[in-house]
């Protein structure tokens, strides 16, 4: 005599769960449609962490395409201008493990400099520059706008007379950073014996 009640109980449970499933599914669908974003916010965030040198050393034509590739699952370690700091920031953002940098890290910020006496005015570097930081015209001397140059190296290869140097970027005195060494009491420092800690 209990069997009918049991069947009703089972059916009602199934019905309730199905109803809930459909209800919440509809809600989710509605919300995703209602609050849909056209841009991909994650790509924007990744792009914001990249150094924007547009150098193409990652194998993609610029930082934005690399950001899209990372979002598709590409490795994080292909950005030498960003260095370890960028890899760690990306790993933090995406919850992935940081990998060692693929290639050599750039030691300091650089800018391109055209030895103007040797320039033949071929405009090849102008076409190569990803941020339009080189000005000049055919058969006329070219020069680099230092403030706009990202130090990407892309103008070096096309130059037929090798008249472009990469020089360290000059920083004004107002951007000078003090070097303060703190005696750290943090546990992370326990790996090295603290010398002269007070």
């Amino acid at each position: 005599m209990n069997s009918t009640i049991d069947i009703i109980g089972i059916l009602s449970a199934v019905a309730v769960l199905t109803g809930l499933g459909i209800g919440f599914g509809a809600l989710l669908g509605l919300v995703s449609e209602r609050f849909k974003r056209e841009d991909n916010p994650l790509v924007e965030q990744i792009d914001a962490l990249l150094p924007q040198t547009q150098c193409g050393q990652c194998g993609y034509p610029g930082c934005r395409p690399y950001a899209e590739a990372i979002n598709q699952g590409d490795a994080l370690n292909k950005c030498p201008p960003g260095g370890e700091a960028t890899i760690h920031a990306l790993a933090d953002l995406l919850g992935r493990d940081p990998e060692p940098l693929d290639g050599e890290a750039q030691s300091e910020a650089k800018v391109a400099f055209i030895r103007e006496a040797e320039c033949i005015g071929c405009t090849k570097c102008i076409q190569a520059c990803p941020v339009d930081a080189i000005i000049g015209a055919a058969k006329l001397m070219h020069t680099v706008i230092e403030d706009e140059c990202t130090g990407c190296d892309l103008c070096l290869d096309p130059c037929p007379v090798d008249c472009i140097d990469m020089l360290p970027r000059s920083a004004p005195l107002t951007q000078w950073q003090p070097v303060v060494a703190h005696s750290s009491n943090m546990i992370a420092s326990d790996r090295q014996p603290a010398s002269g800690v007070s």
Partner: protein
């Protein structure tokens, strides 16, 4: 009414002003040689306009203002220029002390722009410590209405007595200088804020106030407490106005000037004498004749201290500025600049090095003395951990670096050093981020331009093909037909983004006309390029479609 308001926190360090305020203000001996740094003010360094070997008189312009925020520099002794480098100009004196003055002005009768020009060519900057060019500060009226001029004579830091002595000797002149500035900025009210530990200066001011004053002057004597001489703190205390974070006193209709600056303004206007000397407090246990001196700019600190009876074996360190906010000098072979208000030649017993730092126990003492109501203990934590997001959240940039927290810290943590370091790191980071953003926009602009050029090329090609009427590529048009809808959407999106960029540009330009709009203009240009490319592609596809339908 003036004592009804208060700023939070504050400390009561030993004042130690007796050492330097007992003797009268006298002229320091004329230096034989001066070294004048090109940057003695905030903003851009001045640009030299003399060459080695040029003869100069006292007051000759030797470096000109460069850029908007900058200030001119004048020879402070007569003689010949012996060296011009990228950072400083040296002059070898002839001992004649010949002056080159500008024509005197009667300030009541001249136009404001003439007064401004006089301030500009006299090289006057704020002598309280920040060194902001005075003519720029006076031009603040172009954007703000000023109702009150505050004379900041609080001089709350221990040891320093330069303003005290200036007021004792030149109370009338300082008030006249204040009237000039009040006329320039249209203030209807002048308030003098002075701490009650300077009775003689207060008496001198009271005496001077019996003379008639065109703009009413109020003398507000406030209780001695560090840092009541901070601009924001003083304005809060005197007028109960809160200068907004990241803003200027002018945002609440107030202008703040130091007595020394006002005196220099009067000298420049009434006597045509540019800023070539200032009052410097010489104090500390390691000199035998402490006191205040009129010192020519560029005089060597060593020479000055030796004339005041420097006891070299006893000397431990020389601090430029006050003991709370000043900087220890690494060498005595450095010149007095427009910003040197005090030199403390301290013995080891007087200002001993702080004991070794111990860990922060978060006792909260720093919090209770912070005049800005920050949480120094948390800032310390995050500054050491370089947690930049937290530093911004805890308002690191509202810190005025007064050093009250370091002073009370029972663990002797150099908190202000941490904050300065973190601030400069964050500032650099902001610059770098802005640069990266700028590079990104330029890159996007280039991409858009290339896309437009490509589309134009395609259009031209198609036009050629259409002219030749070669019915060859029907296969290609099939795929183009499918894309038509996508192209239309892309076109609409490009149109929308142009509108959006235009709107943003207009809004920002309206809100803050001073801000540079280059980046936004470039974004607009990028959107326009994208729109052009989309238009071309769409037109091309339409044409293809019609071509297909017609035959």
């Amino acid at each position: 009414m003036s004592n009804a308001f208060d700023f939070p926190g504050g400390i009561y360090p030993p004042e130690r002003k007796q050492r330097s305020n007992q003797s009268a203000l006298i002229e320091a001996p004329l230096p034989r040689r001066v070294t004048l740094p090109l940057q003695q003010h905030s903003g851009q360094p001045a640009k030299p306009c003399v060459a080695q070997g040029n003869a100069v008189k006292v007051g000759s312009v030797i470096a000109k203002r460069e850029g908007m925020v900058s200030s001119a520099l004048h020879a402070s002794i007569s003689g010949t220029v012996s060296e011009v480098s990228t950072t400083q100009i040296s002059i070898e004196g002839d001992g004649q002390d010949e002056w080159l003055r500008l024509p005197p002005l009667v300030w009541q009768n001249v136009e404001p722009h003439a007064l401004l020009e006089r301030l500009n060519e006299s090289g006057i900057v704020g002598l309280g410590g920040a060194g902001f060019p005075t003519h720029i500060k006076a031009r603040v009226v172009e954007q703000h209405t000023i109702h009150t001029l505050v004379i900041n004579a609080a001089e709350c830091e221990p040891y320093i007595t330069a303003d005290d002595l200036t007021l004792r000797h030149y109370a009338n002149e300082v008030l006249e200088g204040a009237q000039i500035i009040a006329k320039l900025c249209g203030a209807q009210h002048i308030v003098i804020g002075i701490e009650d530990n300077k009775p003689e200066a207060i008496d001198a001011l009271k005496q001077a106030l019996t003379n008639s004053q065109p703009v009413p002057v109020e003398l507000a004597v406030i209780a001695t407490r560090y840092p009541s001489g901070g601009e924001r703190q003083l304005i809060k205390k005197l007028l109960d106005l809160n200068v907004p974070s990241g803003g200027l006193p002018a945002d609440v209709g107030v202008l703040c000037h130091n007595p020394g600056t006002l005196l220099a303004i009067l000298h420049a206007v009434r006597d045509g004498q540019p800023l070539v000397s200032r009052v410097v407090t010489l104090t500390g246990e390691a000199i035998t004749q402490p006191g205040n001196r009129w010192v020519r700019l560029g005089t060597s600190v060593r020479e000055l201290l030796e004339q005041a009876g420097l006891n070299t074996p006893e000397l431990h360190q020389v601090i430029q500025g006050g003991p709370m906010m000043g900087t220890p000098l690494l060498t005595l072979d450095t010149p007095v600049t427009k910003l040197t208000n005090c030199l403390i030649a301290a013995t080891l017993e007087e200002l001993p090095p702080p004991p070794a730092e111990s860990p922060c126990i978060r006792c909260g003492e720093c919090e209770s003395v912070c005049p800005v109501a920050l949480l120094p203990q948390q800032l310390h934590w995050y500054a050491r951990a370089q947690d930049d997001a937290k530093l911004e959240r805890y308002h690191l940039f509202d810190c005025i670096e007064c050093g009250a927290c370091s002073y009370v810290c029972p663990s002797h943590i150099p908190l202000v050093v941490d904050y300065r370091e973190a601030k400069s790191r964050l500032r650099l980071q902001r610059i770098e981020t802005a640069k990266a953003e700028h590079a990104k926009h330029r890159f996007e602009f280039r991409q858009a331009r290339l896309a437009r050029e490509e589309a134009e090329k395609q259009a031209r090609k198609q036009a050629r093909q259409a002219q030749q009427r070669r019915p060859s590529n029907t296969a290609a048009t099939n795929s183009e037909k499918v894309d038509l809808r996508g192209l239309r959407i892309a076109h609409a999106a490009a149109k929308a983004s142009v509108k959006k960029a235009e709107k943003t540009l207009a809004r920002v330009a309206q809100e803050d006309p001073k801000q540079s709009l280059d980046d936004l203009e470039m974004q607009l240009a990028t959107a326009q390029e994208n729109l052009k490319a989309a238009e071309l592609q769409l037109a091309q596809a339409r044409e293809q479609q019609s071509n297909e339908e017609s035959p």
